[in-house]
Subunit: 141 residues, 2 copies
């Protein structure tokens, strides 16, 4: 594990959220690993398996998202051989299209993103995001 690897993995992780923010399914398609053993868990959802189903799920979510912006905190990237695991907290600002004229809402989630090395690229193998319900983190320190 070196700083160049960590930078590349962190950039791949950022691109996942940038593609979502841009609502760009072509960029999202490049983010994901080409193999069919990919899995994606959207917050509150059961797992979606397989490249086709995963990308269709993103298309549906993007089509139903007026505006979304991610502020990632607590990003930790780990590399072990050709696999990288990134954990982060997603602080989310969304635009809500309602009759009153589009208010903003915020939400908090956390994610585990597992990447696989493909040549010089890191491609997303597993994305697992879940809602953070606790108002602030319990402390076990």
């Amino acid at each position: 594990m070196n700083s160049t690897e960590i930078s590349a993995v962190t950039a791949a992780n950022a691109e996942l959220y940038a593609a979502f923010e841009a609502g760009d399914i072509d960029r999202m398609s490049v983010v994901w690993d080409p193999d069919d053993d990919v899995v994606c868990v959207h917050p509150g959802w059961p797992p979606v398996s397989g490249r086709g189903r995963v990308l269709r799920s993103w298309s549906v979510i993007m089509a139903n998202t007026v505006y979304i912006q991610f502020f990632l905190t607590g990003i930790v990237a780990r590399v072990e051989g050709d696999v990288a695991v990134v954990t982060c907290e997603e602080n989310i600002l969304t635009g809500v299209a309602d009759d009153a004229g589009g208010l903003a809402e915020s939400a908090r989630a956390c994610a585990t993103n597992v990447f696989r090395r493909r040549g010089s690229e890191w491609r997303l193998w597993v994305h697992h995001a879940s809602p953070v319900i606790a108002p602030s983190g319990p402390s076990f320190s």
Copy 2:
């Protein structure tokens, strides 16, 4: 990736849930990787990082669990070098201690469990479990 590896990873995954069901923090301690870069997301929680904090979180959860039983479905194990990723659905039966005399409750969650190879053992590196809120899986097939 061969069937012996997949069997070993699947057994390591089963032991996580067996240790929890038994309320045995010593077994849970062996399940987890010895390094300090472990992360654990309990359903609805923010990430808990570091071996000490992760094991303390399990101690607290076990102390507050009267009875729990897991029925795992959709288990898929993948191995890439010295890293394994298991995804599964957790169908949970819990005993609820209430004034009326302990009714059972069921819950549904899904998990991503990332293991690291340590000699001949597979140790848990990242556990991410989240509630499944959708009544049944959306279909994108």
